[in-house]
Amino acid sequence: MAMNYNAKDEVDGGPPCAPGGTAKTRRPDNTAFKQQRLPAWQPILTAGTVLPIFFIIGLIFIPIGIGIFVTSNNIREIENPSKECEPYRRNEDKPIAPCGAIANSMFNDTLELFLIGNDSYPVPIALKKKGIAWWTDKNVKFRNPPGGDNLEERFKGTTKPVNWLKPVYMLDSDPDNNGFINEDFIVWMRTAALPTFRKLYRLIERKSDLHPTLPAGRYSLNITYNYPVHYFDGRKRMILSTISWMGGKNPFLGIAYIAVGSISFLLGVVLLVINHKYRNSSNTADITI
């Protein structure tokens, strides 16, 4: 190291008897950055800055929590616990469309809802099939294969997924909701994060503001059981729910907000007390240096 040869030294070393005539010094620049004097704000956790945060958060979070909770509680859900379903069958080999395990396991129960009015004939409730998927999914991610008008032609040479009852081009009669852009399929393909999940099946649209969407009365649910969950101890539910600005019913967030807000408020009080207790001593504390 002492003798670490450095070509640069040889150059810098120059003839010392003739010190460079120029007045160029090696004096460092006197800039705020280089001298580490950049203007800065040194935040310090004082009672004046910290305590208001806790109170403000308490004051903001609690009403938000109450709001969410109330909204969530106003959302009405009707549940229908599922029953056991039949086992699935195999299929022959051919290129499968759509491929993949998720598609293969697509939910294929059909649900129909009837209003049993005063008449003995049940009135079917219109369940909207379209508009249940994300616009981007329907219009960007999922496209039907190119070709002529006939969807069956376009899917020629493929076979349906092993567990499917119908080939993909027969999912719906509406050409805008058939094949890969069938919204039931798209909804299924948007994988859930957690093992217990909810997926949107159909929409029940309100016809006019005067009439309730689902008038009071007796309803019957007609389920075609196709989807087996027996083997893995699965359970199915059908939930009828209203929605609000915050989506469906979920008490968790509201309660969490109320709890965090309250704890924050409480913490504010506790810290205020502690600060008051220690303020005098810390102000007079000598620096033991």
Binding site: M1, M3, P28, V140, I243, G247
Partner: protein, 1126 residues
């Protein structure tokens, strides 16, 4: 038994050590130092020793043959070495130097190879390979590749910039020109074309291009002056002298061109001062030594031209042989950091193993029965578990921070630049800024426990001024007029009567001038004549003014004083010396010069006056001169036997500015300062008082005091010892009663006595005798071991004792001993040491200490060259340690703590998620987020904090040195702090996962569309994570500049910007398989519910931190908190 006693007696015999003498010269102790410390040897020590061992042994075999003016000669087959299989290359290197590492072709492979020598990079490469295995991988290929490429790229760019600079330098140097004989004439040639055996001509101020044998010069007596500043840092001129015969016959071009001498010498080596060889010419052989060799890197001075024969070229030259042995010093934090990374590895493997077992179990229980999970593979659950182990290693790999090392490097580099840029460590007088020569040690500057300081030139200015003298029993130098009356106020002596006076000497004794001019006392004139004649100073004239170049500042001061008092040294040739004696020039024949060296500590000269009288003049250290006055002893110093005392000189070396203040500041920062000096005891003690290391109420202990204390302690330990000694915990007893201010002043010889480092020549002779029996050999090793144990105990005791003293001054110590003392403290105290010095004699200790600081002062650059930091004044040390060191330490600690935190908070979300996905190594984030989190979304704010953060300003840092203690005690980063950071990360990851989980568990979106889908969930967690960690760094930053604010909010904005881009329809259309999250950001973040979830998550992550910080600041404020509040 006899052997044991013998070797022990070598320690116990002998009288008291002599305080006055430096124990031994350096060469003799080298092997002894090597012997010590074979048992517990710190890494550093070993490295140093290896460096020493690397000094190639000096070989006598002369196998290197150089034929003048005969290039073909060196291409003969027997000079060829086999390089690869059959490619042969001459063993004679050509003169092109190559300090660069890469060229355009080799850069990428070589640099990658270099970088993959690092275990961290190898680790990520292995991960990359694992990811390529489809059964294992759950992550896209680019998640590891992109960060790895970025990390490699940053390092590669840095290397490239360095290498380009080296290329430029090499080119510049290789293309320098000098005159070489070619085809019988001198022709200008580039340095790179010079070859061994070439005859070259050099002119004044030329750099010497290779190691050459001086053949002749334009100066009389074939002298050639060179400056060796590049080699050893010494700025005084040295002279080289060629053989008489070559100088005589080889002056003209034609004779040089026909010169056909053959030189046989040793192979190239790195010994700068050694050379042996023989010149065969005209059927005669002439011995050659180092005096006839000009080394590459020297500069020709005061010589119009000279001729030489190239002996070693390019890579064979001594300066190149000495290069490249860069030691790597590493900091405490480096070691700690490595251990922590290993800890994380272990945690990673354990977690993965646990999750893998979980997966195997889950497969057996659930997975095998779930028809929808059928994947066509017929694996057993345990095999799936095994695969998942590797899957989790990949998924959780971000626990080991990929960008940690490169970020640490960047931060250190920045901090080093701040040191270089500091105006307050810039010494305007010499135009010297501070320089961090090593960029990897900055935070260690904040952890120094012990400072070992040289005295001369470090604490003092090393500018010697002639103050007083004593001639014939009369002391001169007080303030008095020509008639010996003392005055308090008297003007300076006017030297204008003397044309040679330089007008810089401040002298107030007019009586001395009177004495010189009157010539009443001949001794006075004789005295100054001696000063003018007895020295090795070189002189040249610049603008008619005499300019002296002295090997040591005190010699220069004496010659200069003589010049001012009318005895000006004017010129020197090899055999004569010319002096102006009060205006009359006289030339003396020099018959002999015995140069000064540290063993003899005196120099002598024999001159013949023009009248024909022969006189011997001698000057030297008081002790050695005193011995030789009027005493007869029939030794070889016969010529110096009966000397008459002419007088004595007093030279002053002032303390540098601000030394006492700096020392007291550093003492308040609980840094112990040891002064190690070659001076004698009295001088050292005086300096101790002058720089306030010692005060009136300090009790001073000397060698004999502590020797008895240590003896008593040893006895004690021996009595208590025996069988139980090994099991009983070592009792820490104090040597001194607590309280009171104690200082230790110890001389080199006492140090040897106490540390049993005495020369053991006798035992060495015994060793040479071959042990005859097995018994004997065993006895011998046993006694050796016992001796070593004793020595270690004694050393430990000494260090304990010395550390109880507030100040330690070691005087009359050799460079080796300086290094030894540093090493002792390093070894037995496990403390961080800093050595500061300015001269070649400090190089050893500078290299031994954890941090070496060089003062660029009067004594050349050698200390600076081997140092890690250098500046011009001792007082800058306080700023380096208390400001830069402290800041660097705090920044690095904060940086590391945050870095581990943020990676844990990020990665462990996968862990929590695994409980909800059958331990299937499913990631909780989008692949692109994993790819960019470490390099884009969370890197800049923490980097800036690591570069810019200041808890208190520099002024306050200096005003309250007690703030320094956090670093010494490792308070800000240690295993506890590390685990707290990990815990913080774990808790944050829990909050990040479970609050969105709760919120998503049974919800539907605004439009009834499912927001609880995997992709929205991932976006929610990722958004909360990015906001949390960036706000967290905001909380950790105590010095908010606009760049900090910009980087924090910029990182968050960047995250959202990139996410919306990657989730856009357009990019999906372009790369459908890479960007799968199409529309997630816009769909998810449109929902107020998700925003409310994110806000809640961030709040729950940060509020406890704020509360805890506030509480701890209120209840247990740290020193810097207190300082800040003032």
């Amino acid at each position: 038994m006899s052997t044991e006693r013998d070797s022990e007696t070598t320690f116990d015999e002998d009288s008291q050590p002599n305080d006055e003498v430096v124990p031994y010269s350096d060469d003799e102790t080298e092997d002894e130092l090597d012997d010590q410390g074979s048992t517990v040897e710190p890494e550093q020590n070993r490295v140093n020793r290896e460096a020493e061992e690397n000094q190639e042994p000096f070989r006598k075999e002369c196998t290197w043959q150089v034929k003048a003016n005969d290039r073909k000669y060196h291409g003969q087959p027997h000079f060829m070495n086999t390089k690869f299989f059959c490619i042969k290359k001459s063993k004679y290197a050509n003169n092109a130097i190559k300090t660069y590492k890469y060229n355009a072709l080799t850069f990428i492979p070589m640099n990658l190879f270099e970088q993959f020598k690092r275990s961290a990079n190898i680790y990520f490469l292995v991960l990359l390979i694992l990811q390529a295995i489809p059964q294992i991988s759950t992550l896209a290929w680019y998640t590891t590749l992109v960060p790895l490429l970025l990390v490699l790229g940053v390092t590669a760019i840095k290397d490239l910039v360095d290498d380009v600079a080296r290329h430029k330098m090499d080119k510049e140097i290789n293309n320098r020109t000098c005159e070489v004989i070619k085809d019988g004439r001198f022709k200008v040639a580039k340095w790179k074309d010079i070859q061994v055996g070439d005859v070259i001509r050099l002119k004044k101020n030329d750099f010497v291009p290779a190691d050459i044998l001086l053949l002749s010069s334009s100066e009389p007596n074939s002298l050639c002056y060179v400056e060796t500043a590049e080699l050893d840092g010494e700025t005084n001129l040295k002279f080289k002298m060629s053989l008489e015969i070559t100088d005589q016959y080889l002056q003209r071009e034609d004779t040089l061109a026909t010169f056909d001498g053959l030189v046989e010498c040793e192979e190239p080596n790195n010994r700068l001062d050694k050379f042996t060889g023989t010149l065969f010419w005209r059927n005669t052989s002439f011995p050659l030594d180092a005096d006839k060799i000009l080394l590459r890197g020297c500069v020709i001075r005061n010589t119009d031209f000279c001729h030489g024969l190239v002996i070693f070229a390019g890579a064979d030259t001594k300066i190149m042989k000495n290069s490249g042995k860069t030691r790597f010093k590493r900091t405490k934090i480096d070691y700690l950091m490595n251990y922590m990374v290993y800890t994380i590895f272990v945690v990673l493997s354990l977690l993965s193993a646990g999750l893998a077992i979980g997966h195997a179990y889950w497969e057996a229980q659930v997975g095998n029965y779930s028809w929808y999970l059928y994947d066509g593979e017929d694996f057993t659950p345990s095999y799936r578990g095994f695969l998942n182990f590797w899957g989790y290693i990949i998924v959780l790999n971000t626990m080991v921070p990929i960008s940690l090392y490169v970020s640490v490097e960047v931060i250190r580099l920045g901090q080093s630049h701040f040191i270089n840029w500091d105006l307050q460590m810039y010494y305007a007088e010499k135009d010297t800024p501070a320089k961090a020569r090593t960029t990897t040690l900055n935070e260690q500057l904040g952890q120094i426990h012990y400072i070992f300081s040289d005295k001369t030139g470090t604490l003092t200015q090393n500018i010697m001024t002639f103050k007083k003298c004593c001639i014939n029993g009369q002391i001169y130098g007080d303030h008095r007029d020509a008639s010996q009356h003392n005055h308090n106020k008297i003007e300076q002596v006017d030297f204008s009567w003397n044309t040679y006076a330089d007008g810089k000497l401040a002298f107030y004794d007019h009586y001395l001038i009177e004495q010189i001019q009157s010539g009443k006392e001949p001794e006075v004139r004789q005295f100054f004549f001696l000063l003018a004649v007895c020295h090795t100073v070189m002189v040249d004239r610049i603008d008619g003014q005499l300019n002296y170049q002295a090997a040591s500042p005190d010699e220069g001061a004496l010659v200069n004083a003589a010049r001012n008092f009318g005895f000006a040294f004017l010129a020197r040739t090899q055999n004569t010396i010319t002096i102006s004696e009060l205006g009359t020039e006289r030339t003396y024949n020099v018959l002999a010069i015995l140069d000064f060296n540290s063993d003899r500590k005196r120099m002598s000269i024999i001159v013949r006056t023009p009248e024909g009288n022969i006189r011997l003049y001698c000057k030297g250290a008081d002790t050695v001169i005193y011995e030789r006055l009027h005493r007869m002893n029939p030794t070889k110093q016969e010529t110096q036997d009966a000397l008459d005392l002419l007088g004595a000189t007093a030279i002053e070396d002032k303390l540098q500015d601000g030394v006492p203040e700096t020392i007291s500041k550093l003492a308040k920062a609980d840094i112990k300062i040891w002064v190690l000096t070659g001076d004698k005891k009295e001088t050292a003690e005086n300096i101790g008082f002058a720089c306030e290391l010692l005060t009136e109420d300090t009790t001073i202990c000397y060698g004999e005091d502590i020797n008895s204390l240590l003896h008593a302690r040893m006895e004690n330990q021996r009595n208590r010892g025996g069988v139980y000694a090994k099991f009983a915990p070592p009792v820490q007893e104090r040597f001194f009663p607590p309280g009171g201010n104690r200082a230790l002043i110890i001389t080199g010889s006492w140090l040897n006595e106490i540390l049993l480092e005495k020369k053991t020549k006798r035992s060495k002779i015994l060793k040479l005798k071959f042990p005859r029996t097995e018994e004997e050999r065993r006895m011998r090793t046993q006694s050796k071991r016992r001796l070593e144990a004793k020595k270690e105990q004694q050393q430990k005791n000494f260090v304990d004792l010395a550390c109880e003293c507030s100040a330690v001054i070691c005087c009359r110590v050799t460079p080796k001993q300086k290094a030894m003392v540093v090493d002792l403290v390093k070894r037995y105290k496990k403390a961080i040491t800093l050595a500061i010095g300015d001269g070649a004699n400090d190089v050893n200790m500078i290299k031994t200490a954890h941090i070496g600081v060089g003062i660029s002062g009067q004594e050349g650059m050698q200390a600076v060259m081997s140092s890690d930091y250098s500046f011009a004044q001792f007082r800058y040390l306080q700023r380096l340690l208390l400001v830069h060191g402290r800041w660097s330490y705090i920044r690095m600690c904060k940086f590391l703590r945050y870095f581990f935190y943020k990676n844990f908070a990020f990665t462990l979300v996968h862990f929590w998620y695994s409980f909800f996905n059958g331990y299937s190594a499913q990631t909780a984030y989008e692949d692109w987020f994993i790819t960019l989190y470490n390099v884009l979304y969370s890197s800049l704010p923490v980097l800036l904090m690591g570069l810019l953060d200041q808890d208190v300003s520099d002024k306050l840092s200096l005003r309250f040195p007690g703030l320094y203690i956090v670093g010494q005690r490792d308070l800000l980063f240690n295993y506890k702090r590390f685990f707290v950071s990990l815990l913080h990360g774990v808790l944050t990851s829990m909050i990040l996962f479970f609050i969105p989980l709760g919120a998503y568990l049974q919800t539907v979106g605004q439009d009834g569309e499912a927001p609880s889908d995997y992709q929205s969930f991932a976006v929610t967690i990722a958004s909360a994570l990015v906001i949390t960690v960036n706000f967290q760094i905001g909380l950790d930053t105590s010095y908010w500049t606009f760049v900090n604010a910009f980087s924090i909010f910029g990182s968050i904005a960047l995250y959202f910007g990139i996410m919306f881009d990657f989730h856009s329809a357009g990019i999906h259309v372009l790369f459908p398989s890479i960007f799968q999250f199409t529309g997630t950001a816009s769909n998810a973040l449109r929902q107020p519910y998700i925003w409310l979830t994110i806000i809640l998550t961030v709040a729950v992550c940060l509020l406890p931190v704020v509360a805890i910080r506030f509480l701890s600041m209120t209840i247990w404020p740290s020193e810097s908190d207190k300082v800040y509040r003032i």
